[in-house]
Subunit: 497 residues, 2 copies
């Protein structure tokens, strides 16, 4: 990888036919898909607004074949896009029209579970939930729980640094993966991270996790497993305004409590969900909070009592605590089914993913309400409130091109508002292709340069998931957006070219 200090001497011309001839000699025929009916299922990920039919899909069965694909792509200058289960929500796995789509689904083996260190070594195609299922026999589980956990792969989780409802207490993928085995674009195998709390040298594991397929292909992951809590209970609290609900979130954290989950839904989201799941949500509330405690029985009862006191003091108009595991699951059912519920009341919906400082919650919600009129579309709001991570659901009809365009503009406006109040354009879904323009708003030219330099350090040829995540300066200039920084407007300097 030292080559990055020198300009590439390779021809910029891709030789796709040459690559295919080479791959046919090193990859079994049944691992290479090229007929349209076979490649069609790979044309998009969970962000189905954006589609590109890949010319070839390769589904390797082992690390040697992944090395062969990468070495081949480098030799013939062909782009490569990696894909886990394809459940991503920002188009990170959207194929390249002149590239290879590399799916890791066949590397789906849990290689070992070590009880003494409470870790598991898994291949990238293993489903998130399958790890917890395998660890359940030992009373352990893998904590990050994205909504897609029944289907999404740990390889995709590493690419996106996935979180979930419980990440406030248990962290994101970065906090639960301690080692990754990675193949670089040169075909070299490197191990990032270690079993130690702090690995020597630069923390390349952290930069790899969440790098959205731009730095290399992961072939093996060591994850941390944690003991399954003996008990969990959830409080459902109603508030008469979004402000008071937001203040209650701040208060509970200020009280030294880190809830296992802390979610908010606004009135529109509650009204959308309740007829669907009949969870007993309070239709009169301006916002409801779901706040969970887990641990030993005594710990949970103690924490729930303290949480109740905080919410009561913050002005909760109704408080219910789950009295059984069944009731806990019913309380959560509404939140967990918000997306399907949106699908029930609208032909299509567009799930946004921005973060904001919690103190700006009501300001941002009011602004989104105004935007509903401006763009002529409805928007329901669910949040990882504890993290300040917003998931506005914009409802539209994809059969109406004008609505699609308005939905995209509405989404972009929400993300730019997030940056304006000191937040970010993505909380946990990644940038991919979806938010690449908003990266011009989030970051300065120097910051984008720093991303590009590290990308180039790993991939000097620019073949790994090109044209994603890091916008070129030309793209930013074309998008014409100013960099907005924590509420200040800074006018951009002229781009370099």
């Amino acid at each position: 990888m030292n080559d990055n200090a020198m300009p590439s001497t390779q021809s910029p011309v891709s030789d796709f036919a040459g690559l295919m001839a080479r791959l046919k000699s090193s990859i079994p025929a049944h691992c290479i898909l090229s007929k349209t009916e076979d490649t069609r299922p790979y044309e998009c990920d969970g962000l189905s607004l954006y589609r590109t039919l890949p010319p070839v899909v390769v589904l390797p069965e082992n690390e040697e074949q992944i090395i062969a694909v990468l070495q081949g792509c480098k030799a013939f200058n062909v782009p490569i896009v990696a894909r886990g289960a394809g459940t991503g929500l920002s188009g990170g796995a959207m194929p390249h029209a002149q590239g290879i789509l590399l799916g890791v689904a066949k590397l789906n083996r849990i290689k070992s579970i070590d009880l003494q260190s409470a870790t598991a070594v898994v291949q990238p195609g293993v489903r998130n939930l399958a790890i917890s299922e395998a660890a359940a026999a030992y009373g352990l589980y893998y904590a990050p729980d994205p909504s897609s956990q029944i289907a999404c792969s740990i390889g995709g989780n590493v690419a996106e640094n996935s979180g979930g409802v419980h990440c406030l207490k248990y962290g994101l993928t970065i906090h639960n993966v301690i080692r990754a085995r990675v193949v670089t674009i040169d075909g070299a195998v490197v191990e990032l991270g270690s079993d130690a709390p702090d690995s020597p040298g630069l923390d390349l594991l952290a930069v790899f996790i969440g790098s959205e397929g731009m730095l290399g292909i992961v072939t093996e992951v060591t994850v941390r497993l944690i003991p399954k809590p003996a008990r969990a209970r959830v409080i459902m609290a109603s508030f008469a305004s979004v402000e008071t609900a937001g203040q209650a979130v701040t208060d509970v954290i200020a009280a030294g409590i880190i809830p296992a989950g802390l979610e908010m839904m606004d009135k529109r989201a509650v009204h959308m969900v309740e007829p669907f799941v009949k969870a007993g949500y309070d239709l009169d509330a301006a916002a409801i909070l779901l706040c969970e405690s887990d641990g030993t029985g005594e710990e949970v009862d103690d924490e729930i009592t303290r949480m109740e006191a905080v919410f009561r003091k913050a002005g909760a108009t109704r408080l219910q605590v789950s009295r059984s595991e069944q009731e806990r699951l019913i309380f959560w059912a509404g939140r967990k089914n918000a997306f399907p519920a949106a699908g029930r009341v609208s032909p299509d919906y567009y799930c946004m993913d921005g973060t904001i400082p919690r103190r700006h919650l009501s300001r941002v919600l009011s602004a989104i309400e105004q935007m509903e009129d401006e763009y002529g579309l409805r928007c329901a709001n669910v949040f990882h409130a504890g993290d300040g991570n917003l998931h506005p659901l914009i409802m539209f009809d994809s059969n109406l091109p004008a609505e699609v365009e308005r939905a995209e503009k509405f989404g972009a406006a929400i993300l730019e508002l997030c940056v304006q109040v000191g937040g970010t354009v993505t909380g946990e879904h990644g940038v991919g292709i979806e938010k690449i323009n908003q990266m011009c708003v989030q970051f300065t030219r120097e910051e984008l340069d720093a991303f590009a330099a590290v990308k180039t350090a790993f991939d000097p040829y620019g073949l790994l998931n090109p044209e994603k995540v890091i916008p070129t300066l030309a793209r930013c200039a074309e998008y014409g957006k100013m960099h907005v920084h924590e509420g200040d407007i800074r006018f951009p300097e002229l781009p370099r070219f």
Copy 2:
């Protein structure tokens, strides 16, 4: 920073005189030290075995001056070494004989404390403990607590990713710093990280934290503050063998308990410390554990009861629980004074810092005992047991050159043993100059290449803290060490040059 894709067109010749002429026009005279009596105090950090007198020390008073220094060093091709409080233990702040030593001590202002987000914005020269002192009025504190916390700076903590006794529960610097403002070698200011749980784009904050001054100079840091626990109690447990003590550590974590601190001392360490601090340590024990719980009163009492049960079952020969804050501090006094105690029984001591998987604890301790004979030096062992982080203290006399050499070899042998059993050459003190040869043992050529590529992405001219942390392949070849990987011996390929 995009220049890294091109070879530098700069002259490789340093022009120190030219740099000084430039600096004198942009930096006040009282901020530039060049007389030997002024620069002498900067010739080493806490690793006083290695010393280099810096030709010039610059102590800027603000970010503009730091930018001026970096732009000047780049223009005149002069190396630059950053320094916080100089308490580091691996020589990371050891000056360069032909370079500028840049001290950030004068940037020592706590700029703001925000209660709603529980964060503080501080300059890099602020002392670690000063943050907690300022936050105490609000019931908050900054969690990472390196032994040097009374003196060490947050800038140095960021450079070394410092931990401390409580990092098992509260994490390292990386887990408690959410944003850093950094000046690059080009003089550009970039902001890494954000208030959001996951910042968009590559996680450059994580790669910067622990990068030991190789990537840029930090000028401002946002740290997370957490509520001060209402109560803390510590168990002191004796064990008849290191094996049973090690098993007790595994058992307590397997029980789902994350102690606030979990430390082990071997018999030699206990016998070294007890006459000095008189903490009532058990002189008959082969090893003692100190295991702390913190939180609300009820939580702590419940957790202490569960910890006691685990230790009893694991075969503890004596158990004492602190009954007052005063007694808790006495129990800790022995551990916290292990280093001064070593200084009392030996003219000099060399504190090592490796990590190992906990299951190899007794194997490694036996090997260290054998090495004591081999190298003719005594070694006492204190550990962050919960993290598997070893701190062997090798005792020697620096007036005897032969002992110095044996101490260095003894230390290297311990670190290489750590790698052999699947551990690492540094847990929390960094690589600096001290462990640079052991990096050849820890990592493959491809892994060192990856480090070098990212270093080059930030610093294509190689001016920031050169010749530290990442060994050149020539150095590894000269050191003649094989890469050892999780117990397997791999013979290295021939170096590239």
